[in-house]
């Protein structure tokens, strides 16, 4: 049993990477596996710095392929284990992440997006949105939380462990280099003080010395139909549990004529923009999906249907927009886009774009 460092509410001034390490400890995580890649290195640095006090474990592997599979190994053995990665590291960890989907392993991973494709920048992007939701050779049986600041990082890192262990789908906390590297105040707390009980963990393959029957988890199948039988069941289960998992945030969206759809840190810039636009008499609002997998489709469709226009804005070329457009098929609300590939979106950017949309409405 690890020792928990945060026993009462503690206000701290931290980088996001530090927050994630503290959150994993608060969630009673026992082991981290990882391989360094900017901008998420300080997650493992902080985790390791805290080890003498937490008595948890850490293994630095030779690459992210190994980090992913080692994490799976730790979890199979019954440890609340996790990993973190970014950019090209996230790319080469897809094999392990797919295995976690297939074998229903409660894999937890923090992704701190950086610019892409390839090495690109070490700073920031939202270009791993599609990869994190649908990477690997499969169907995206994954749960993905997209955070928008340090309090989110703490809250959702804790939640990711419980979601993963309760539903046994790999669960990701999708953030970005800004959130990893930036510093802002945050309140750390003991999950128990918020009524959060950690889901108990156990070895996947059975109990030691026959204390529980052997459990055979497969990722190899002989026949096509045999595979589809399993995947159909997964899909049915994923759809069934989705309403319990879906999360979203609406900000002044009730009477919004221009509805901004954004996730993560860009949604936070959008909130600044909404306030500025409202002060200028423009009825703007925000729909922020917090879970990107699964998307909260019903409220999303309702918000889009209410609005006169929609603006998609991302630090990517429409990765979220593509996912959303599929889900709002059939609605007639026209939309416009503000995409900055690998670059932060500011409140001003959004204000100017929405003002231009009011002058010259979108027609698409």
């Amino acid at each position: 049993m690890v020792k928990k460092l945060i026993t009462q509410d503690t206000r701290m001034f931290l980088t996001g990477n530090e927050v994630i390490a503290y959150a994993a400890n608060a969630a009673e995580a026992e082991f981290m596996y990882g391989y360094p890649i900017t901008p998420q290195n300080e997650i493992m640095h902080t985790w390791c710095k805290l080890l003498p006090k937490t008595e948890a474990g850490f293994l630095q592997t030779e690459d992210e392929i190994s980090a992913g599979f080692s994490t799976i190994g730790g979890i199979l053995a019954g440890k609340r284990a996790f990993t973190a990665t970014a950019g090209p590291g996230n790319v080469i960890m897809q094999d392990a992440q797919s295995m976690a989907e297939m074998m229903r392993i409660p894999f937890v991973c923090a992704v701190m997006q950086r610019g892409g494709p390839s090495t690109a920048t070490v700073i920031y992007a939202q270009q791993e949105t599609r990869l994190t939701c649908f990477g690997g050779n499969g169907e995206g049986f994954r749960i993905v939380y997209s955070t928008a600041g340090h309090q989110d990082l703490y809250d959702y890192m804790i939640k990711a462990f419980n979601t993963a262990w309760k539903y046994r789908f790999p669960t990701f906390m999708l953030a970005d280099g800004y959130q990893g590297k930036m510093r802002e105040p945050v309140t750390l707390y003991d999950p128990a003080s918020r009524g959060i009980k950690m889901v108990p963990v156990e070895a996947t393959l059975g109990g030691a010395n026959g204390s529980r029957p052997v459990n055979h988890v497969r990722n190899t199948f002989n026949l096509e139909e045999e595979l589809m039988e399993v995947l159909d069941k997964y899909q049915e289960e994923f759809d069934r549990i989705s309403p319990e998992i879906e999360e979203y945030l609406e900000y002044k969206a009730d009477d919004a004529e221009v509805l901004i759809i954004a996730h993560g840190i860009v949604a936070r810039s959008a909130m600044t923009a909404v306030d500025e636009l409202r002060a200028k008499g423009i009825k703007a609002g925000l729909f922020r999906p917090i879970t990107l997998r699964p998307l909260a489709v019903k409220p999303l469709r309702a918000a889009v249907a209410r609005a006169k226009q929609v603006l998609f804005t991302e630090s990517a070329n429409g990765q979220l927009a593509q996912m959303v457009l599929e889900k709002i098929y059939g609605l007639q609300t026209p939309y416009s886009t503000l995409f900055k590939m690998g670059v932060g979106v500011t409140g001003d950017d959004i204000v100017q774009k929405v003002e231009s949309m009011v002058k010259e409405p979108a027609t698409v």
Partner: protein, 186 residues
């Protein structure tokens, strides 16, 4: 002012992020809302290093902003990169003893300081960035000198205790930096 947006840019290795950290720590300890994003490439040294800092009385929304209230440029490449963060409400401060050119951007004020020259000739090359911190403290005028000194103590206290003359040197650099802005009359 409810929110002060600062862009602090120079070459990697000039100590830009070090003073940004002291500044935001001072702001946090003074009870302000703070948001700080370091921005740099893969190099250990060289390349443009930018610190985006916000100090506010109320909770901060957007992490990145378009235009800074105070934009400090400490190298030619920083000038090239950072004019995009300047508008007619910005105060631009650049080090004319490092830069070979003047920033050509539409700003409220463009002020030149010679922090590098002063550091080399009067103090020590190592406190160049602390002089800039003094410049920043005066130019932003939202934090007190004592806040910065406390934050310096948190960051450098151990070094100061080992070598007390370092404390005096850093304080002197800080005050000389503040004096540069007072002289410019911002």
């Amino acid at each position: 002012m409810a929110r002060t947006r600062i862009v602090l840019a120079g070459e990697g290795g000039q100590g830009v992020q070090s003073i940004a950290k002291i500044l935001v720590e001072a702001g946090y300890e003074a009870g302000k809302e703070i948001l700080y994003i370091p921005n740099f490439g893969v190099e250990q040294r060289g390349g443009v290093s930018i610190a985006f800092c916000q100090i506010a009385d109320e909770k901060i929304g957007e992490p990145r902003f378009s235009k800074g209230d105070i934009v400090i440029m400490l190298s030619d490449r920083a000038i090239d990169r950072c004019c995009t963060y300047v508008n007619e409400n910005s105060t631009v401060i650049y080090d004319s003893s490092v830069c070979s050119k003047k920033p050509e951007c539409k700003a409220k004020n463009i002020i030149s300081v010679e922090a590098n020259k002063i550091a080399n000739e009067q103090l020590s090359a190592r406190v160049f960035n602390i002089i800039v911190l003094g410049v920043l403290l005066s130019a932003t005028n939202v934090l007190k000198l004592s806040d910065i000194k406390n934050a310096m103590e948190m960051a450098l206290g151990k070094k100061f205790d080992a070598k007390p003359e370092l404390r005096d040197l850093n304080y002197k650099a800080l005050e000389m930096g503040m004096g540069l802005i007072e002289k410019a009359g911002v």
